[in-house]
Structures are given as C-alpha cells and as structure tokens.
Symmetry: C2
Subunit: 185 residues, 2 copies
C-alpha cells in the first residue's frame, strides 16, 4: 500500500516537527525559538517546515491543540473532585505552559488565526467553569460574572508565579467567597 505508507510517513514527519516545536516553545519560549532552530532539531531544512505548516503561528496553533487535547483528556478523570481541587489541578497542570499563555495573548492581536483559536479556547474554558460553578451551587444570575472571575484568577496564577501555599489560599478564598451566600456584616 504505497498510498497508506506515504500518508503515514507524512503524519510521522509532521508529528516530529510538532514535538520539537512544542518542546522548544515551552522550554525556551515562542519568541526565542527561531524556525531555524526547530528545523535543526527536527533534522530538516527551514523550508520543509513550511511544507507542513503555513507559518510560525500555524505551528503554534498545532502545538496548542495538541496540549489542549491532552489536558482535556486528563481533566475528564477528575471531574468528580470538589471545585477548588479542580481549579488547583488546572493551575498546577498548566503552570509549565505559562509562557504560552502570554504568547497566545500577544500573537492573538497580530494573527487572525491565533485570535480565532484564543476565542474558541475561552468559550470552551468558560463552559467548563460555568458547569463547575453550577454544580457547586452558585446562583444562576451570577454565573457569567463568576466565570469571568474564575478564568482571570486561573490566568493570573499561571502568569504570575505564586508558591503552592499562596495558590491554594487564593483559590480556597475565591471558591469560599463565590459559593457561599453573603449577608451584610
């Protein structure tokens, strides 16, 4: 089957470039990683990368999709844990990627493709957080604003570095304040 063999080779090569790009983007940062270095580590010429990917942002999006799929698969295994545990898990899980969070924000303002990915990502993240808040008993009217706050706190904990105790304190306080009914002091 030459047709299948070909297709598999193509997929393998693409995957290899992707794996190299992912490692370099995470370890050294998107900006500090030149197409030349990716090519070098993958054992190809720069132009070859452009055969498999439209441009550097397209490569970034492919890496992001790869990471997102992996994270979602893992998240599915802990959906029964309490809300604060799940948020802490998400922050710990995504902490290695904090550089990419910034990169997405930066590139989204320049690349329409990254902007689209970013929008889609937040729709997904928002629906996950909204579901979690509903399960934790939050008032329906407050869900959209609460979801935004949850997203911002996760992003904030990712992009600014906090130690484990502080992360837990922030998340516990947030969940406690958001999911209990307030009465004026």
């Amino acid at each position: 089957m030459p047709r299948n063999r070909r297709l598999q080779d193509r997929e393998e090569k693409r995957e290899e470039i992707l794996a190299v790009a992912q490692r370099l983007f995470i370890d050294d940062g998107y900006e500090s990683t030149s197409m030349g270095r990716i090519a070098e580590h993958a054992g190809v010429t720069v132009n070859t990368i452009y055969w498999y990917f439209r441009d550097k942002d397209d490569l970034l999006i492919a890496v992001l999709d790869r990471l997102l799929a992996e994270a979602l698969a893992q998240y599915a295994t802990i959906t029964d844990r309490p809300l604060n545990e799940r948020l802490l898990w998400a922050v710990d899980r995504l902490e290695r990627l904090h550089g990419l969070v910034n990169t997405v924000h930066t590139r989204a303002s320049v690349s329409p493709a990254v902007h689209t990915w970013h929008t889609g990502f937040h729709e997904l993240a928002d629906s996950l957080i909204a579901d979690a808040l509903r399960n934790a008993g939050a008032a329906e009217a407050d869900i959209p604003a609460m979801t935004a706050i949850g997203t911002f706190v996760i992003e904030g904990l990712l992009t600014h570095r906090y130690d484990d105790a502080d992360k837990r304190a922030v998340i516990d306080l947030l969940v406690h304040k958001l999911t209990t009914v307030p009465t004026q002091a």
Copy 2:
C-alpha cells in the same frame, strides 16, 4: 548658560523620542513598532535613539514609567470614591494600554530590566489594592489572597475585552462577594 541650555536640549530630545515611542507602542504595539519607525517619526537616525536609551526594552520602561506616573496622579484625585468605582475607573483608564500589559509580561521573561519593573509595579499595585480592601472592611487575614484576586480580575478585564455592562457586573459581583461576610447557604 550654555550648560543649562545643553541640558534642556538633551531633555527635550529625549522627551520627543519618548513621546513618539509611547504613541507607536500604544497604537501599533511594541513588537510591530521597529526602532527604525520610531527614529523616522522622531526625525533622527536609529543610532541616535541608542544614545539616549540603552536598548528597546529600556525605551519601553521609560514609556511605562511615564504612563504610570500620569495614572497615579489621576488616581490620587478619586481616592474617596467607593471601591467598585475605583476598580472600574482603573480598568477604563488602563484599557487603552491593554497591549502593553501583555508586552510587559512577555518582555519580563526575557529582559531582566523589564522583569524588575514588573515586580515593582505589582508591589505598588498590591499595596494600593490592599489599602482599598482594608478601607472597605475586608478581614485582615484574607487581604493578601483578596489582593491577588483583585489584581488578576483587573488584568483579565484589561487583556480580554468586555463591554461596559459586563465589566461593571464582574467588578460589582467581585466587590460584593469579597467585602460582605459569608454564611453557609
């Protein structure tokens, strides 16, 4: 007074470059603004910029200090307003600069000078928010975590675009939840 004349000229030239850089950084973004375009708009050669500033990050920091001083001066005039009004003011005031927020985060991981500026900025912002929370009657033990949450929500509202009604909803909910004493539902 040739000495003073000289000093004034120098200060004027520096200010002119700075003003051009600030406008271009805000309007077009830090990455999209080349040193060449700044020089062109300021009517000098690229090398001249390097006479007044160490490098592009140093220029960025000078712009940030300029913007911060201006914002702080304006903030001083509204310190008597309630907490949610002040937070909303800050978001509206800084919204034009949302691109620079990202830029600071990106450059902080590459330039030690920007990293130092970013750290100093957050110390200042944290102390302002902590004071505001104390005045609003927040429990002392919760202040650090609350301050982090406040910072993250402001940054989130800046970097993701929300319309006025949504911004207000998020801030009002946040302030309400943080500054009232909760009791279990």
